[in-house]
């Protein structure tokens, strides 16, 4: 198969790094060559963050070129809009209907643009997930990242079992059950 590119974008603190860890483990266990790139450090303090995951038979480079991502998973909707240029013209978006105001918006020196999800959907095939509500339903707001992975797994047409194994292997035992619930809510909704 040709190399596939998935990009996870969001706001520092939303759990994109844990999500990319789960995703890369699932892909490796499925027998793919996998490369992943992300930026840690200062940007984690509430700034824009992204993880780039590439998989296939033979992956040359760990970063996704502009205009070449197959799937963009936006943990926060404005970050989805910000990173649309990474997608291929026929790429797809899984977007969390969730808003976190950048500091400029909080300070009223900038505005949070209107109709973000509609603007994304006008450009590309878009799946909207109410990950916050589903995470609360699972029992823990912090599992929003795993709800989104559930939606991503569904979009990738992957069976849930491998994901369940990865969650059991990589998440602290006390949090496995709530994350499994979160994953399934994301997968089925």
């Amino acid at each position: 198969m040709s190399v596939k590119n998935i990009m996870l974008v969001g706001v520092g603190g939303q759990g994109t790094i844990t999500a990319s860890k789960l995703l890369t483990n699932v892909l490796m266990d499925a027998g793919h060559d996998v490369k992943m790139s992300e930026i840690h450090g200062m940007s984690q303090r509430g700034g824009s963050v992204s993880s780039q995951i590439r998989y296939g038979e033979n992956v040359a480079c760990p970063v996704i070129e502009l205009g070449s991502a197959d799937l963009l998973v936006a943990f926060e909707k404005l970050e989805g809009l910000r990173n649309l240029a990474y997608l291929k013209t026929d790429g797809a978006v899984v977007v969390n209907d969730f808003r976190i105001d950048p500091v400029g918006v909080l300070a009223q020196t900038a505005e949070y643009p209107p109709n973000v999800i509609e603007r994304i959907a006008r450009c590309v095939d878009t799946t909207v997930v109410a990950a916050y509500d589903l995470a609360l339903e699972a029992g823990e707001a912090m599992t929003m990242n795993v709800v989104l992975l559930g939606a991503l797994a569904k979009r990738m047409e992957m069976a849930p079992d491998e994901w369940e194994d990865a969650i059991k292997k990589n998440i602290k035992p006390n949090y496995v059950d709530v994350n499994l619930r979160a994953f399934h809510l994301g997968y089925t909704n």
Binding site: G13, V34, G46, V103
Partner: protein
């Protein structure tokens, strides 16, 4: 066995498998995770946080001279701090293998500059590897130790952010056991008095000639021939980027061992291709070497010198176009810069400093650098680790010389103070400077993700450690006026600042409250009872829509665009700064919390 590892993890895993006995580091993005991984395996290796990179490298040098494999890892600017021992250790050589890892930051994701540390290998005459991916990190680390022992020299491994923080699959080797070559006194080798150092300098240059032969022979430097119209010389992650863009439409010369350069091999490669290009991130180092060897090549005429050499930039430079994605406008998408967390204990201090005039606010390296941003605008300069205090000192002397009323205030974190701020404070006291030094003691090294330091009571492997007492240190250095305050109590902070600027001598204010992201220890829970257990909310009837709460610059507070009523979101952890600045007493403790 195969594992999916980041470059940092692969370096750590390789160190353990290479039988390394001693590892030392100071945290710094993107190198932090190397030592963190090692410290988590304290049954297999001794790994420690040093107060700074110079101490880390000197300690590793001692361990290597004492006969066991040792390493020091640091971010690019860390090697500036460690440059002194680095240069001279190249003269003396080692006992058992010594590897220094520099993690450079093209693109400056979390750094103050973009220096290219490959220059250090040339400057110090130290051999250098440049891994492209995690497998190479693992393999080169092992080879670097062997090379270090064969040539009696420290070896530099130059990584970059994308190598450190990218994951790829690594095939692991059989682990080697630890060993020790008992130390033998050898003054002619290790004591660098001028008479001995002159001979060592000659040895160093001779060794460089031998390393040139190694560079020609090593399998880390190799050609991959496909279409010969384009020939590309590349190192590090640029090699992967190049293959992504050009695939089999070009031939490649991969430089994995990059100092000394395999120039004869590159000359031969150049003769087989129509046109030679050099792809390297940051400075034209290989390019300069190649051109001065009489080989025609194209490099920085075409490709950027600043920032990361990302695939889209290579495509744009070479083909004059980018891949096109969905068409949309970003015009009204506001930026999302990093910001102080909700509940950050630095907020109270920056709120107080931002409201004052007549201060020169000398900043330092840490989360608190973000105090420069609106609404605080409370940092005037940032240079490097420790510089806040010494630069405040220089500034204060000039203010005094020209009868300015300006007061210089240094703003520095606990870990940064212990890194290199301590020497600067010594100078403030010694040279009788009336600098106000504020040590933001949040009980952890926060920006790199919460590492312990000599002030926190724990070592890298979470064993108990003595606590370096900041008040006692300041006092011992000669500071007479020292005060500790709770930065979440604005009155306390304001009073301390009034007190400090009223003095005609140096003073130290310690703001002591744990980082909101810190994993609290038992003693934290005792000292900071109730920290981060409360939430605040807005009493809408009392809110006067004045929006003054926005001047707390807290990501938990917003004001409705239409009604101007304030609200506090779920990220509030109860620092109470906003409640203290609200003139209408409309911000109140949430009862049902």
């Amino acid at each position: 066995m195969k594992q999916l590892l980041t470059g940092d993890e692969a370096i750590a895993r390789s160190a353990i498998d290479a039988g390394v006995c001693f590892a030392s580091a100071y945290p710094g993005t993107p190198s932090t995770e190397i030592l963190q991984e090692l410290a988590a395996q304290s049954d297999k290796i001794y790994a420690e946080w040093a107060p700074n990179e110079k101490v880390a490298l000197e300690s590793a040098i001692g361990a290597a001279i004492a006969g066991s494999r040792a390493m020091a890892s640091m971010k690019h600017v860390g090697l500036n701090v460690a440059a002194d021992p680095f240069f001279t250790n190249a003269y003396t050589g080692i006992g058992a293998g010594l590897v220094v890892i520099t993690a450079d930051e093209p693109g400056m994701h979390s750094s103050q500059n973009e220096q290219d540390n490959r220059h250090y290998a040339y400057h110090a005459n130290v051999p250098m590897f440049e891994p492209s991916n995690s497998q190479e990190c693992y393999d080169m680390m092992q080879t670097a130790f062997e090379l270090s022992e064969t040539f009696d020299v420290p070896v530099l491994i130059r990584m970059t952010t994308r190598v450190c923080h990218s994951k790829s699959i690594v095939e692991l080797k059989e682990p080697k056991s630890k060993f020790n070559i008992p130390f033998k006194k050898n003054q002619e080798k290790y004591v660098t008095v001028p008479a001995i150092a002159r001979q060592l300098r000659i040895n160093l240059l001779q060794r460089n000639e031998k390393l040139k032969k190694y560079s020609i022979a090593t399998a880390y430097n190799y050609a991959e021939m496909y279409d010969t119209a384009i020939g590309i010389v590349a190192s590090g992650v640029c090699f992967d980027y190049a293959k992504e863009i050009f695939m089999e439409n070009a031939s490649y010369y991969k430089v994995g061992f990059s100092h000394p350069m395999p120039l004869d091999n590159i000359k031969e490669f150049a003769s087989k291709v129509d046109k030679l290009y050099v792809l390297e991130e940051n400075d034209p180092i290989m390019e300069t070497m190649i051109k001065s060897y009489g080989i025609q090549a194209i490099g920085k005429e075409l490709f950027p010198t600043e920032g990361e050499m990302l695939p889209e930039r290579i495509r744009l430079a070479f083909y004059g176009e980018e891949l096109s994605g969905p068409k949309h406008s970003l015009e009204d998408v506001p930026p999302r810069p990093p910001t102080l967390c909700a509940g950050c204990p630095h907020r109270g201090l920056f709120y107080a400093l931002g409201g004052r005039d007549g201060l020169f606010l000398s900043g330092d390296i840490g989360c608190y650098t973000l105090g420069y941003a609106p609404p605080f605008n409370a940092i005037d300069t940032v240079t490097c680790m420790g510089a806040s205090i010494s630069s405040a000192h220089g500034a204060q002397k000039i203010f005094d010389m020209f009868d300015s009323k300006m007061r210089a205030v240094a703003i520095i974190g606990d870990s940064t103070f212990l890194h290199t701020g301590l020497n600067s404070l010594m100078s403030v006291a010694y040279n009788n400077s009336k600098v106000v030094t504020i040590i933001l003691d949040n009980r952890i090294t926060a920006m790199t993700g919460g590492q312990h330091n000599p002030g926190t009571g724990f070592n890298a492997s979470m064993g108990d450690a003595p606590i370096a007492d900041l008040t006692a240190i300041a006092k011992a250095l000669g500071i007479k006026h020292i005060k500790t305050v709770n930065p979440n109590m604005l009155d306390e902070v304001e009073q301390a600042l009034d007190w400090a600027v009223s003095l005609d001598e140096a003073s130290v204010i310690i703001t002591r409250w744990p980082c909101v992201l810190k994993k609290m220890t038992e003693s934290d829970n005792t000292e900071f009872t109730g920290a981060y257990t409360e939430k605040y909310t807005v009493d809408e009837d009392a809110c006067s829509s004045c929006a003054i709460c926005l001047s707390a610059g807290c990501p938990a507070i917003s004001v409705d665009n239409d009604t101007m009523l304030a609200s506090i979101n779920d990220s509030c952890v109860g620092c109470s700064i906003c409640a203290q600045i609200c003139p209408s007493e409309a911000i109140v403790l949430k009862e049902d919390n």
